[in-house]
Symmetry: C2
Subunit: 457 residues, 2 copies
C-alpha cells in the first residue's frame, strides 16, 4: 500500500436532491429531498462507505430564492432542513464521518452557537465541524429586525470577535474538569473551570458554557469567504477552507496566497486544508458523461433559466423575448456592470440564444464542473492536488443519491488505487481524520504550548 | 377494555442522571448522564415502551448553578446537551413518542426558533413540542450582552409577539403548497405561499420560513410560567401547561383558573392539557419507597444542602455553623422575605437542625413528591386526575434509568389496568396522541375555520 503518499481530503457537499438547479426533476431523485430524512440517512451512509472526511451543508437564514415570481416556483432549494438538527439526527446513523454545518456569525449569538456545536460534538463523539460564514443576502437581514445587510467590513469585524468568544466558551472547562467522584460527591474541580467574562465591541458574554469542553477541543473550524477580509479571517482561524475555483492557475494562486497568510499569522500551513468545490458528472465513457449532463441541463425549466440569467444581467426581464432567439440589447444596469458585459460579450461571440446562454451559466453555480470517466475525473483531481491547487475537494453531486453513489463506487476506488485516498478511517474524530491538531485550552496555555486556533492577534 | 374513560396524559421529564439533586451519586446512575447519548437513547426508548405522550427537557442558556463555590462543585446539572440537538438525535431512535424542548423567548430570535422546531417536526414525523418560557435568571442575561434580566412584564410582552411571529412563519406555506411536479417543473404553487411581513414592537420579520409547514401544522406549544402574565399567555397560546402544584386543593384552583381563562380567550378548555410535575419514589412496599428516598437524601453533599438552603434564606452563609445544630438567628434579607420566614418557622416548629432543614427542601425542587407502591402512586395520580386537578402529569424520575424503569414496569401497567392510560399509541403525531386539533393556517382562515392557536387577541 502506498499510504506514505500525502492524502487527499474529501467532503461530500450535500444539498436536497443534488446541486444541479434542476436536480429535483431528475427521474431518480426524491423531489422532496430537502425535507426527507430517509434520503439524507442513505446519502450520509453512502458518503461514510466512501470514507469521505465529512458531509457538509450550506445554509442561509432566509428562503434561497434568487429569482422572482415564476422563476422561484421551480426551485427546490426554498425549503430544507435546518442543518444542525439534521446533523444531530445523522450523528446517530453514522459512526466515523465528520458532520459539518454552515452557520453565520452575522445573525447568531456566540453562546447559542458554541453550545449547539459542542452538543453535536458530544452526540457524534467528536465529529462536528462549523463552516463560519458572514451571510451574503439582504433577505436574511429582513428576517432579523434589520432593513439592510450588515456592511462587509463590520460583518468580518463581528466574525473575528465571534470566534474569539466561541473559543473562550469552549475552553470554559478544562478537559479533565469533570471528576464526577460519586464517593466524595465532587462533580468538578473548581480549579479547572474558567469564566470567559468576555467584553468586546460586539459581544459581552460572561460564560461559562453549560457544555463540557468538546471531545475535539473545538469542533473543526471551516471558512468560506474569499474577499481580503475573508482570507484574513481564515488565515487566523480556519482549519479547512471551502472555495470556488475554476482553473488550476486560479486555484494555485488562491492556495499559495492563503497558505502564505497562514504562515504570516504564525500558524502551520499544513493545518489549514484548502478544499475547492467540484461538480462531477461521471460516465462510463466521456460520451455518457456528456449525455448525463445534457439530461440535467434539459430539465432546467425556462423560468429558472431566465430568472438566473435576469439576475445576472441586472434584473432585466427577458420573459417577453423568444427564448430561442438572440439576447436583446440591454439597458445599462446599476449593479454588476462587469458581469452584464461578460454575458453580453459571451452571447455575441458564440452567437448564443437566450436558452443557450442560461444553460452555459446554470449548473455548478460558480464551482468547477468536471465531466468524464472515473479515470479522467481522478486525473483532474490528482492534477490539482499534486500541483499545489488543493489539499482536497468538496464534492458536489449534481443529483442525489445517484451522483454520490457513482462517485463512491467508481471514483473513490480509483483514487484509492492511486494511493491518494484512505481505505479506512485513521481516527475517530473529524480532526484526527483530517490530520489536524487538537487545540490547547487557552486558559491553561503555557509559553510553548501547541498552536491555538483563535481569532485574536 | 375501558378505553371509553377519559385518558391521562403523561410526559417523561428527563434530566441528566435524574431529578434528585444528588442523583448522579446514586450507584446505578451514569454520573456523566447529561452528556451521554447512550444514556438518553435508553431512557427515551423506555419512555416509549411505557407509551408516554412525550419526553420533555427543561433548559437554560447559562450554567445552572444556584449555589456558589463549594456548593457548585457537587452539582451535575452544570453541563448537559442542548435539547434541540439531543431531541433531533433521539428522533432517529424512537418512533411514536413526542419530543419536547424548552426554549426561551427572551434570548432567542423567532426565525431561528420557528425553523429549528419545524425541522425537528420533519425529522420526527410530527412529534415536536416547544415549551415556551421567558427565562428566570440573571446569569442568562450576562451571556447575551445584557447587564440584567429583562423586566417581567416586558418579557411576557416580547413572548406574546414572539409566538405571533413564529406561528406566522410556520404558516408561510400552506400544507399543499409543494406540488413538486417533475413533469411540469413546478415545485410549489405561488398562491399557497404567504410572506408574513411582521412588523411589531419587538420584531420585524419578513419571512417566509425556509421550511415547509410542519407536519403538525405547528409543533405542540407547551407553556411553563405561573404568574398572572404567564397564565394569560398560556390561556391564549398554550396547548399543554407544565406547572408545580403541591396539594390537590392548590392544583384544583390552578386548573379551574386556567381553564376559565382559556374559555374567556375563546378557546376550547379541552384543548389545553394541564400537567403538574410529579416526583415519584416507587417501592414494592411503602417502607421500601421510604428507604429509597432516604438513600437519595443521604447522598446530598452537605455543601449542596447548605448552598440550596442559603439561597432560599436570602444568601446568608451557613457554613460557619454546626450542620447538626439549630438554625441561627438570621439577619433580615432584601429578597424573598416570605420564604425566609417560612423556613425559619418550619425549623423552629419542628425543631430541625440545619441538615434536617435542607433535606426537607431538597429533592423535587418545588414539585410534588409521592412515595409509595405502584398502587398508592396510581391512587394519587388518579385522585388528582378525576377530581379536576390535572389532565395528566409530567413524571420526574428521581434517578435514571432506574426511576423511569420502575415507573414504566410497575405504575404504567397499574394505570392501564384502571383504564386510565393507553396501551397503544392512538396516532403518529404528538398532537394526535394528546388529542389536540391540528391548527388551521391563519393566512387561509375563513370565518368559521377551526380554532387558531395564536397569541393575537
Ligand atoms: C465556497 C463558498 C461557499 C459559501 N457558502 C455559504 C453558505 O452556505 N451560506 C452563506 O450564508 N454564505 C456562504 N458563503 C458566502 C459567505 O457568506 C461569505 O461570508 C460572504 O459571501 C462574504 O464573503 P466574502 O469574504 O467572499 O466577501 C460562501 C462563500 C463561498 C466562497
Ligand atoms: C414548572 C415550571 C417549569 C419551568 N421550566 C423552566 C425551564 O426549563 N427553563 C426556564 O428558563 N424557565 C423555566 N420556568 C420558568 C419560566 O422561565 C418562567 O417564564 C419564569 O419563571 C417566569 O414565569 P412566571 O413569573 O410566569 O412564573 C419554569 C416554570 C415553571 C412553573
Amino acid at each position: 500500500m502506498s499510504q506514505q503518499k500525502k492524502q487527499l481530503r474529501l467532503g461530500a457537499f450535500l444539498m436536497s436532491s443534488g446541486h444541479h438547479v434542476a436536480a429535483w426533476r431528475h427521474p431518480e431523485t426524491p423531489a422532496d429531498g430537502g425535507l426527507n430524512f430517509h434520503h439524507f440517512r442513505k446519502v450520509a451512509q453512502t458518503a461514510e462507505r466512501g470514507k469521505f472526511d465529512m458531509i457538509f451543508f450550506a445554509d442561509g437564514v432566509a428562503v434561497r430564492q434568487r429569482g422572482q415570481g415564476l422563476d422561484a416556483v421551480s426551485r427546490s432549494a426554498v425549503v430544507h432542513f435546518e442543518p444542525l438538527t439534521l446533523l444531530s439526527a445523522l450523528s446517530v446513523v453514522t459512526e466515523n464521518i465528520g458532520l459539518a454545518a454552515t452557520v453565520s456569525t452575522t445573525y447568531n449569538e456566540p453562546y447559542h452557537l458554541a453550545r449547539k456545536f459542542a452538543s453535536l460534538d458530544y452526540l457524534s463523539g467528536g465529529r462536528a465541524g462549523w463552516n463560519l460564514v458572514t451571510s451574503a443576502t439582504e433577505a436574511e437581514a429582513h428576517n432579523f429586525n434589520r432593513d439592510e445587510h450588515m456592511e462587509h467590513g463590520l460583518r468580518y469585524e463581528r466574525a473575528r470577535e465571534f470566534v474569539d468568544v466561541v473559543t473562550k466558551l469552549w475552553d470554559s472547562w478544562e478537559d479533565e474538569a469533570f471528576v464526577r467522584d460519586k464517593a466524595s460527591g465532587i462533580y468538578f474541580d473548581p480549579d479547572k473551570h474558567h469564566v470567559p467574562n468576555h467584553k468586546g465591541k460586539h459581544f459581552s458574554v460572561l460564560g461559562p458554557l453549560n457544555v463540557a469542553r468538546p471531545p475535539q477541543g473545538y469542533p473543526v473550524i471551516i471558512q468560506a469567504g474569499s474577499s481580503e477580509d475573508g482570507q484574513d479571517l481564515a488565515a487566523h482561524t480556519a482549519e479547512v477552507i471551502f472555495t470556488a475555483q475554476q482553473t488550476l492557475a486560479e486555484a494555485q494562486a488562491f492556495y499559495g496566497g492563503v497558505k502564505a497568510r497562514v504562515a504570516q499569522a504564525g500558524r502551520n500551513p499544513d493545518h489549514v486544508k484548502i478544499m475547492p468545490g467540484v461538480f462531477p458528472v461521471i460516465g462510463k465513457t466521456e460520451a455518457e458523461a456528456k449525455e448525463k449532463y445534457d439530461q440535467l441541463q434539459e430539465l432546467i425549466h425556462p423560468y429558472v433559466g431566465l430568472g438566473l440569467l435576469s439576475g445576472m444581467i441586472g434584473g432585466f426581464d427577458l420573459s417577453q423575448y423568444p427564448i430561442d432567439g438572440p439576447l436583446p440589447d440591454l439597458p445599462e444596469t446599476n449593479g454588476g456592470k462587469s458581469r452584464q458585459r461578460l454575458l453580453t460579450d459571451l452571447a455575441k461571440r458564440d452567437n448564443l440564444t437566450i436558452r443557450e446562454l442560461y444553460l452555459a451559466i446554470a449548473g455548478a453555480r460558480g464551482h468547477r464542473t468536471i465531466l468524464g470517466t472515473p479515470q479522467t475525473i481522478a486525473d483532474q483531481l490528482e492534477d490539482w492536488f499534486v500541483n499545489g491547487g488543493a489539499d482536497g475537494f468538496n464534492i458536489m453531486p449534481p443529483y442525489l443519491p445517484g451522483g454520490l453513489d457513482e462517485f463512491v463506487d467508481l471514483v473513490i476506488p480509483e483514487l484509492q488505487r492511486r494511493g491518494l485516498f484512505r481505505t479506512e478511517y485513521e481516527g475517530k474524530t473529524l480532526r484526527e481524520n483530517l490530520g489536524l491538531p487538537r487545540p490547547a485550552n487557552q486558559f491553561t496555555q503555557v509559553a510553548d504550548a501547541p498552536e491555538l486556533v483563535s481569532a485574536s492577534r
